[in-house]
């Protein structure tokens, strides 16, 4: 592996306080230098980045790859390709596979399969409890030793306060966050959308915001008690965000992520009963959506994560009540962030890169999210001005369940580079430098 020079882009690297026109030199798959006027040597792969944003490779910390078990929906290969096309160089995958990733053989399979098949880096998240049953802790030490970067029972909330407490205490020894889907099932059982005006109009069973908030409150109190580390996935209500703010003010170690659909859509989108608007947590009210945008701006929300949840067409082409929860997101997440957050003027590019790269890498302690010399040569190159139309037929993902089909979004993923190799677009390289040029 040789040298790659990214010339003339707007380099945004919050870790090193850079937001300026720079060149980036990658040597042997690692960042060598970030500076002005770097010269290409013969044989260097040169990518002209005029007018582009050059950022540390993006990290999607909440993805369902479905392999092993439901390879008809997604595989580690197709999910990895979707991530690359969406501008991500690393992803963390949830343990709700079949079998569940609660055991070293599954973790080893995922990491080995990722090395063989995925163009991007894949970090497994292990199960908090065996079989995601919420009863007995899985072998968390073993899972972390083999590469798991966090623990979660994914869509199944840990209902028992005792088990959640023990998970927070036990995970402290391995410095991984406990990621608990916040939902009191007794309050939301049977619900298929947000409880509110639109659930009343549509006659669909609602899930109240309180079902999420009570669980977050419990988890925050337990985190304070145990000095553990809590990460709240796909936070979705205004009060949940207040709870996180209040916890931080008390010095409790809690982080949170939001999905692009929760900052882009509201429960009004359910009108028409399109099952691609059915996800858990559900799309919330406009007040909640506005509170999410405010929390993205003020820093309460640490990261954006897609909660990429591929489902087959025939599973979604059913009555709303019986359709599975979830939408794909790897190939629309960055575009929605560029359009809805940056384009709309809510945040600047530095904050955008923090949300998509720096912070998720920090929460999961991944060797990513920075362009410091010696760091992995993982780069996302974006256009903030080019328009992209979301066309599910072009998705690399095996599934098409998106509510954003046909959306025109200002922004584009231009190149995704992993370890100094272009992984998106596939089989596209920069030009080879033939002679020394200097600036």
């Amino acid at each position: 592996m040789g040298r790659m020079l990214l010339k003339g882009g707007r380099v945004v690297d919050p870790v090193n306080g850079i937001d300026d026109l720079r060149d980036v030199l990658i040597v042997e798959g690692r960042i060598a230098r970030v500076d002005r006027g770097l010269a290409a040597e013969p044989g260097d792969e040169v990518i002209e980045c005029d007018g582009m944003v050059v950022a540390p490779g993006f990290v999607d910390m909440h993805v369902h790859l479905r392999e092993p078990g439901r390879e008809d929906k997604e595989t580690i290969q197709t999910g990895g390709q979707a991530a690359a096309a969406g501008g991500f160089t690393s992803l963390a995958c949830m343990p709700n596979t079949q079998p569940v990733n609660d055991d070293q053989s599954v973790t080893e399979f995922i990491t080995a399969q990722a090395r063989r098949k995925s163009p991007v880096r894949v970090y497994p998240i292990g199960a908090i409890t065996k079989g995601l049953k919420g009863e007995e802790l899985s072998e968390i030490g073993e899972l972390v030793r083999l590469g798991c970067v966090g623990i979660s029972d994914d869509g199944l909330p840990v209902a028992s306060g005792f088990i959640m407490r023990k998970a927070l205490e036990y995970a402290r020894m391995f410095d991984v966050p406990v990621i608990n889907h916040a939902q009191d099932l007794s309050l939301s059982d049977g619900g298929v959308m947000n409880e509110g005006f639109y659930s009343t109009v549509l006659g669909l069973r609602g899930m109240s915001a309180v079902a999420e908030e009570t669980m977050i409150f419990r988890d925050i109190l337990l985190t304070g008690l145990t000095h553990g580390r809590l990460h709240v996935p796909h936070i979705s209500t205004a009060r949940s965000l207040d709870l996180v703010r209040e916890a931080r003010a008390r010095g409790i170690d809690v982080t949170c992520e939001v999905t692009p659909h929760h900052f882009s859509l509201t429960d009004e989108s359910v009108c028409g009963y399109d099952t691609n608007t059915k996800m858990n947590p559900p799309l919330r009210s406009e007040e909640d959506r506005a509170a999410i945008v405010a929390a993205i701006k003020d820093g309460t929300i640490d990261a954006v994560a897609s909660d990429h949840a591929p489902h087959c067409q025939e599973e979604k082409e059913v009555e709303y009540d019986v359709a599975p929860f979830g939408v794909v997101g790897l190939e629309t997440s960055v575009l929605l962030g560029l359009d809805r957050l940056v384009g709309a003027g809510h945040i600047n590019m530095k904050r955008f890169v923090e949300l998509y790269a720096t912070q998720p890498a920090r929460i999961l302690k991944l060797p990513a999210g920075t362009l410091s010399p010696g760091a992995a040569g993982d780069i996302t190159i974006l256009s903030a001005t080019r328009e992209t139309t979301v066309d599910p037929s072009t998705f690399r993902s095996k599934s098409r369940n998106t509510p954003f089909a046909g959306w025109k979004l200002k922004g584009a993923v231009v190149r995704t580079i992993v370890g100094g190799r272009v992984v998106f677009p596939e089989a596209v390289e920069g030009t080879r430098a033939t002679s020394r040029t200097s600036h």
């Binding site: 409880e195 006659g203 028409g272 009555e319």
Partner: protein, 312 residues
């Protein structure tokens, strides 16, 4: 004037003019059911499939009679006797029925939005005969027809609807309709059976039936499903009846010419006293009679008919 959509999925998407068109058309059809030969050739050669995924006697019979009196060929398909029990999806069921080229599918389904889904994948006209807790448009139309018949108008009337507001499709369709026509509406029921933000559909909310029925022109009672008892919605039928049941004493608080309505089937002694259900102000059986004319009007208009070329 004609209806804008080939489907009747709900009241929410209808204009006040379309509602008036359906009610006016129903008036011309009502006379047919009084004739010795209760049949006109309006839908001769057209096929209607009554696709019922939930048990229903009243609505299905009413549609079937409406279809027969319009000379349509109709057939009943109920979930218990079909491949649905073998695990066929709604989409496949719909595609199979479509392959037989029906002109209408009248559907009753336990899940909200099921007819909307069908309307996206079928060429036939879809008529919603009740989808879960969402809408039951022909019920609201026959209720409106009955009110208009008895009162001469709907706008400005004081209407009270009492019962399980949370789970009722009849409530939603009626609220959409009454809001469009400008009635003064109060919904009454236990706090545990009241959906959030219901007042945004243009009604007041009350938990005291005695106050709510004061001076009412129309009182509509809803069936209370026994299975809600003991699931946290209300503690006992006995207490429900004492708090919300319609008794003669309560009727006396209403306007002297009040009419009492109920979409049926009624539970005597649960939500309504027998003497009220059978009393002189009760129009419960008129509702059933009017249902046929209203459903004839709906099918006729969906088939492309307009009020000027009335074939009756």
């Amino acid at each position: 004037m004609q209806l804008r959509s080939p489907h009747l999925l709900g009241i929410e998407s209808l204009t006040p003019e379309e509602i008036a068109l359906i009610l006016d058309t129903a008036e011309s059809f009502a006379e047919i059911s009084q004739r010795e030969i209760k049949k006109v050739p309006t839908l001769r050669g057209q096929t209607v499939i009554n696709l019922f995924f939930e048990p229903s006697t009243r609505t299905r019979t009413s549609f079937e009679l409406a279809e027969k009196r319009l000379s349509a060929d109709s057939l009943n398909f109920s979930a218990g006797t079909s491949s649905v029990v073998k695990g066929e999806t709604l989409l496949d069921t719909a595609r199979n029925l479509e392959a037989m080229n029906p002109d209408f599918i009248v559907m009753r389904h336990g899940m909200p939005g099921a007819p909307h889904f069908l309307s996206r994948v079928c060429r036939s006209s879809i008529v919603n005969a009740g989808d879960g807790s969402h809408e039951h448009p022909t019920q609201a139309l026959l209720d409106a027809y009955t009110i208009r018949n008895k009162k001469g108008k709907i706008g400005g009337l004081k209407i009270v609807i009492v019962g399980d507001i949370l789970h009722s499709r009849v409530v939603r369709s009626n609220l959409f309709l009454w809001q469009k026509l400008g009635a003064d509406v109060t919904v009454v029921g236990p706090t545990t059976l009241m959906p959030p933000c219901i007042e945004r559909l243009g009604c007041r909310v009350s938990h005291r039936i005695d106050e709510a029925v004061e001076g009412a022109d129309v009182i509509m009672m809803l069936r209370i499903q026994m299975e809600r008892q003991g699931k946290g919605y209300f503690p006992s039928v006995r207490e429900y009846f004492s708090l919300f049941g319609l008794t003669e004493e309560r009727v006396r608080r209403a306007s002297p010419d009040v009419i009492i309505m109920h979409p049926g089937p009624i539970n005597r002694g649960v939500e309504i006293a027998s003497s009220v259900a059978d009393g002189p102000y009760s129009v419960i059986l008129d509702q059933v009679t009017n249902g046929i004319a209203v459903r004839m009007a709906v099918l006729y208009l969906l088939a492309g008919g307009g009020e000027r070329e009335m074939a009756a």
